[in-house]
């Protein structure tokens, strides 16, 4: 430990080794899987919504990775089957998230396929769930006196409405909802799929 160069070289070599294991080999393995059958690429509108999702930081409260029934009851919550690597083939960047301050969203398009619901929820989450701590996104909407033709009016419960005004969704809101509705990985998982099976040690079913 009296020479700087070997120290630096060895330290970099160890990092390179770790990088090979944690990045290069998994990349090769995951990359060898084709996109899941049933998965479709995002449309331009959905990609615009995805950009909204990223820029508003939805990922910090919502995961997009349902777990196996061996580990957690995500399936029983309606969040969908455990996701596999092939489900994310078109996700760049990935938005798997690490927090569930809100529910998992990988299949929200399947369990909540109503655009109107999502618009209300984005405009005022607490109109739907009083306990919710999700931010409201009023800047994705416009308050108008009358809806113009082609406008999507946001429905609000009776007690939340403002008389003589209507809430209209901006294109950003429509795109975000389009992205949310595109989150639907309810097609069957490929059998050879890659995922963490560390909780399937049980092997057979009880």
């Amino acid at each position: 430990m009296n020479r700087a160069l070997p120290l630096v070289i060895l330290a970099m070599a160890i990092l390179a080794f770790a990088t090979m294991l944690l990045v290069v080999v998994p990349r090769a393995q995951i990359g060898s899987e084709p996109p899941a059958a049933g998965l479709r690429a995002y449309s331009p509108e959905e990609l615009r919504g995805r950009a909204q999702y990223m820029s508003l930081g939805c990922v910090y409260c919502h995961s997009q990775q349902p777990r196996t029934p061996d580990q957690a009851p995500d399936g029983e919550r309606g969040w969908g089957r455990p996701s596999v690597a092939a489900d994310y083939a078109y996700d760049s960047p990935h938005l798997m998230g690490t927090m569930r301050t809100g529910p998992d969203l990988l299949n929200v398009g399947a369990r909540l396929p109503s655009t109107a619901w999502h618009l209300t929820h984005l405009y005022r989450p607490r109109a739907i769930a009083p306990w919710s701590i999700m931010p409201s996104y009023p800047f994705l909407f416009e308050i108008k006196d009358h809806a113009a033709p082609g406008d999507t009016v946001v429905w609000l419960p009776r007690e939340q409405r403002v008389a003589g005004k209507v809430v209209v969704a901006r294109p950003e809101a429509m795109a975000l909802v389009a992205y949310l509705l595109s989150l639907d990985r309810t097609y069957p998982a490929p059998a050879s799929a890659i995922r963490d099976d560390g909780y399937s040690r049980v092997g057979g079913k009880p």
């Binding site: 061996d70 909780y199 040690r201 049980v202 009880p206």
Partner: protein, 339 residues
């Protein structure tokens, strides 16, 4: 390793050597504890995650616990065919023994889970206790005699197409007995099996009361058996929840028409899936409400209801022969036109 320029070690007193050791020891203890924890978690992952949920342990109060064989172990061949047919009769009595059934019930209406469920007069327990002397007809009864009684009273054979129970020696009896015999595979003969018959409930000083029972019935029974006690049919007209009184139910001669039997059955099994959730008193009262409704007449009745009550219902806990709301119970219902 030892530093030549560092001479302190040579002059240290034993006390000094111990000094400063406390913290390393606690760090080792922390590390060791952590390690132990990791190992325990490994074991937990391995063993606990592997095991399924715990099953309730069987209690033992002197009687012998018995588990009937699984359905999948019914043998093939002619013996198996007879067992299977016996089971079919048991479950689908109105079809398989159509000529001898005069109501909307099946054997399994009272002997739950195809005669397998403990505390609802399971057939594996019945099989090993016959032939038996019965006070009901004051003679030694074979299983066939007993089944004949079931068809006469519980299945209300008098209103069936043939007007009575299957004749002696009918294959219906043989097949049912084959099924019972198989259900009782490896059961000890004559022993007291746990869960045999219906549980016997003690009657409190409150007795039983049909008005209290009406409330119990409305709260706990009516959603399935209907306010009118006629049970419920599915969309094909198939009886799902059995009728408890009226023309489509058991007649006044049935064992279930005695309040103590009904109370025991109710206590242990009703509401279905939530057995033993009612108190003994609620079970007695609900049974009283059900028993105080009119049902097909007792087929043994020759003269008046009062005569029959004296002849066959003496000492029974029943409303037979009593007058409720100006109606003499036991008069019987008029037979319903068959579907």
């Amino acid at each position: 390793m030892t530093d030549p320029g560092h001479t302190a070690t040579e002059t240290e007193s034993p006390r000094d050597q111990r000094k400063g050791r406390g913290l390393p020891h606690s760090i080792y203890a922390l590390g060791g504890g952590l390690l132990l924890f990791a190992l325990v978690m490994l074991v937990r992952d391995d063993i606990l995650l592997r095991s399924g949920p715990p099953t309730p342990a069987a209690q033992d109060n002197g009687a012998i616990a018995f588990t009937p064989p699984p359905m999948s172990s019914i043998p093939n061949g002619p013996a198996g065919a007879s067992i299977r047919h016996g089971m079919a009769i048991f479950e689908n009595t109105g079809t398989e023994a159509r000529a001898f059934v005069g109501n909307g019930l099946a054997c399994r209406s009272c002997h739950l889970d195809a005669g397998r469920k403990a505390d609802s007069a399971p057939m594996w327990a019945a099989w090993v206790s016959y032939p038996q002397y019965r006070a009901k007809n004051k003679k030694m009864n074979s299983m066939e005699d007993r089944l004949n009684g079931c068809f006469s009273y519980s299945m209300n054979g008098q209103d069936s197409p043939s007007g009575g129970p299957p004749p002696k020696g009918d294959p219906i009896y043989t097949d049912l007995e084959a099924y019972f015999h198989w259900l009782a595979s490896n059961a000890p003969t004559g022993a007291k099996l746990k869960g045999a018959g219906f549980p016997k409930l003690k009657l409190s000083s409150l007795g039983y009361d049909r008005d209290r029972g009406r409330a119990v019935y409305a709260q706990h029974c009516a959603s399935c058996h209907g306010d009118d006690g006629q049970g419920r049919r599915d969309l094909n007209g198939r009886q799902v929840f059995p009728p408890l009184w009226g023309a489509n139910s058991y007649n006044w001669g049935a064992g279930m028409a005695q309040i103590n039997n009904a109370a025991g059955f109710i206590k242990a099994n009703m509401p279905l899936g939530a057995g033993n959730s009612l108190t003994d008193q609620q079970a007695w009262d609900a049974a009283a409400w059900i028993d105080s409704q009119e049902r097909p007449k007792d087929p043994r009745q020759k003269g008046s209801v009062q005569d029959n009550a004296a002849a066959f219902h003496e000492g029974e806990k029943t409303f037979y022969g009593k007058t409720i709301d100006n109606h003499l119970l036991g008069t019987g219902t008029s037979p319903k036109p068959r579907l």
